[in-house]
């Protein structure tokens, strides 16, 4: 299929420059009876649906379930979720492309988000991201990316390793951290946010 450039600048939505296949029938709500859905995926989506009075509210929990199951949001996963939710796959992918944490392309399952927003970049986040990309960029299992403010400016520069907040990370610690990420170990245990006491001196006084 021909690649169509619609704009001179790019978009952050993956696949934005791919032309639509006009010969294809428009997607309809997948038949719940014939679409095979892995049982644990179905259970996770239905658990999401139970939490809201309106089924559509479970879109985000459903996409999380798909991503958990496949490691990203593949078309077949979205189709399966659509079958359980009783909506079209397009409705789901429209939501999935809006949010930064849903991967629409297959990437490494281990996610390393490096905060590159203001506070962290004042403390050297760009260098940290470059160093981590240098160490782990080639590894197909790892998805290293710069991310918007992760809400942990007190431990800047920091990274979220599979959801575990670690910081401040010195450039000298990057090889050690990279090794731990590759081997699936606990990342820099003594630098994890959950172990950090409050900075407020009034708290420590008591």
């Amino acid at each position: 299929m021909a690649e169509v450039r619609r704009f001179t600048h790019d978009s952050r939505i993956p696949g934005w420059d791919r032309a639509a296949d006009l010969d294809k029938e428009p997607a309809v709500v997948p038949d719940a009876a014939t679409t095979e859905v892995p049982p644990e995926l179905r259970a996770a989506i239905e658990d999401g649906m139970r939490r809201f009075p309106v089924g559509d509210s479970a879109f985000i929990p459903a996409l999380y379930a798909v991503q958990e199951h496949y490691g990203w949001c593949p078309p077949e996963g979205i189709e399966q979720a659509a079958a359980v939710l009783g909506r079209t796959p397009a409705a789901l992918s429209a939501v999935a492309t809006f949010y930064d944490m849903f991967e629409m392309e297959q990437l490494g399952r281990k996610s390393v988000y490096v905060c590159t927003n203001i506070s962290c970049s004042l403390c050297g986040a760009d260098e940290l991201l470059a160093a981590l990309e240098g160490e782990l960029g080639e590894d197909p299992d790892v998805n290293v990316r710069g991310f918007e403010c992760l809400g942990a400016c007190d431990i800047a520069p920091m990274a979220s390793v599979n959801g575990v907040y670690v910081g401040p990370i010195g450039l000298g610690e990057v090889p050690e951290l990279a090794r731990q990420i590759r081997q699936g170990d606990d990342p820099l245990p003594e630098r994890q946010l959950l172990r950090r006491p409050s900075a407020d001196p009034k708290v420590a006084e008591k």
Partner: protein, 438 residues
């Protein structure tokens, strides 16, 4: 210095579990509130002078009083989508004292008679969401969330919803759309969420810190709470201080404390005795202040009088070694990435501002660009459904206004650098054009 309210016992091991929380007097204010008349409870909240801690600073009691009475299904939604760059106070509250938030939320839910309630937490706060999930489960197990709580006849549900990485979902109507399973696009207001919010029902939306302060208000009484702080800025505030400071972190202070005391006294000021170039008083969306404004009191009205906003209470300190162009670049990049795209002035304004700052860095900008950039910011402010565009326009506009000479110097320096490189390349290529030799 006043005692800590929100951060009371915050480093107590296991405070996130219900037993430790109750051992420190937790869940004692909820039954007190449940015995009150709803009208009186709202009067109490209004009387405390508590203002919304999420950014807008709207009086909390007044917001609760806007919720209509009647039999329709009402909702309370806690906004835990803390994404404002520089802000991390809610994270610490949720992580270390989730039950305080749940108690405050249940009191608010009773005040407006909301029986279905949600906490919307940003997806990146995975560990915090797990802690909150466990806390909600504990409270449900003890009958604190459920049918007929504390024999008051009030039944309540509370669910946790996770976002998936979108700054705009911190905007209240964007958050509601996200909760309904849509793209997080802000809605046209009015109708305000108090009349037509989640699933078209009346909805009270409050920040984590606002709701966490409610148990203290019931305990101290409206007058007791209002006595803390200064006029029109009652109570204590968590201030997240980050950037180029010695001791970044969350500090609980009475509103009205001087900014110098916060930045130098508590956070230790910039490292190596450097000077402060500028600071954001309320997250990256607020106009910057300079070292001259350090003696301003840290409360809603004083910061506003100084030309900025208290916002979410996040101070980002930038020292003299940092480049303002780099700062503007990061800001514009962030907001153009996070613009949802619904309103044209914001979508295009943030994108083109980003490209113009990029030009400065590449060395292809002209001094005239600064005027165009400043004009673009004016075209954004007030022209969109929500304030995301304004949130870029205000700090960038203030950076250009206050540091114009630095922008101009950098434009000049980068252009010279680029021309020098081009000349070098030209020489290296050994191109010979008739009549001109390199």
């Amino acid at each position: 210095m006043t005692d800590t309210l929100l951060f009371k016992n915050i480093d107590e091991p296991g405070l996130n579990t219900i037993d430790v929380y109750m051992a420190h007097g937790g869940y004692t204010q909820l039954p007190v509130a449940l015995k009150m008349e709803r009208e009186d409870l709202i009067t109490e909240l209004s009387g405390s002078g508590l203002r919304g801690r999420g950014g807008a600073g709207f009086p909390m009691g007044k917001k609760a009083s806007f919720i209509p009475k009647g039999d329709m299904q009402k909702y309370v939604v806690c906004n835990a989508d803390e994404s404002e760059p520089g802000t991390f106070k809610d994270r610490e509250l949720i992580q270390k004292n989730p039950h305080q938030l749940i108690e405050g939320l249940l009191i608010a839910a009773f005040a407006v008679d909301a029986t279905i309630n949600y906490i919307y937490i940003r997806g990146e706060y995975d560990q915090q969401a797990d802690i909150l999930d466990a806390a909600i489960a504990e409270a449900r197990e003890r009958g604190i969330i459920g049918e007929n709580i504390f024999d008051s006849g009030f039944s309540v549900q509370l669910e946790l919803a996770r976002g998936a990485g979108a700054y705009i979902c911190g905007e209240e109507t964007g958050l509601l759309d996200s909760l309904e399973g849509k793209r997080g696009n802000p809605r046209l207001k009015p109708p305000f969420p108090a009349n037509e919010g989640l699933f078209n029902g009346p909805t009270l939306i409050n920040n984590v810190e606002t709701l966490s302060a409610i148990p203290s208000i019931i305990k101290l009484g409206a007058e007791g709470y209002a006595a803390i702080g200064v006029k029109d800025s009652a109570g204590t505030k968590l201030v997240s201080i980050s950037g180029n400071v010695e001791r970044p972190g969350n500090y609980e202070v009475a509103l009205g404390t001087s900014s110098r005391e916060l930045i130098y006294g508590l956070a230790g000021g910039p490292v190596d005795g450097r000077k402060i170039k500028c600071w954001f008083p309320g997250g990256s969306s607020t106009p910057v202040l300079t070292a001259d404004d350090l003696d301003v009191g840290y409360d809603y009205d004083s910061i506003e009088a100084a030309g900025s906003m208290l916002g979410s209470g996040a101070i980002i300190v930038v020292d003299e070694t940092q480049s303002v162009v780099e700062l503007a670049y990061k800001l514009a990049k962030f907001y153009s990435h996070e613009s949802c795209g619904k309103c044209t002035p914001c979508r295009e304004g943030t994108r083109w501002t980003f490209h113009m700052v990029e030009r400065i860095k590449e060395g292809t900008a002209t001094p005239m660009d600064l005027d165009i950039m400043a004009a673009v910011q004016e075209q954004i402010i007030g022209h969109c459904l929500c304030v995301l565009g304004d949130a870029m326009a205000m700090p960038i506009g203030s950076l250009i206004a206050k540091f114009r000479d630095e922008f101009e110097a950098e434009i000049e320096a980068n252009r010279n650098e680029r021309e020098r490189k081009l000349a070098e390349e030209f020489a290296a290529a050994e191109v010979e054009i008739e009549g001109i030799s390199a």
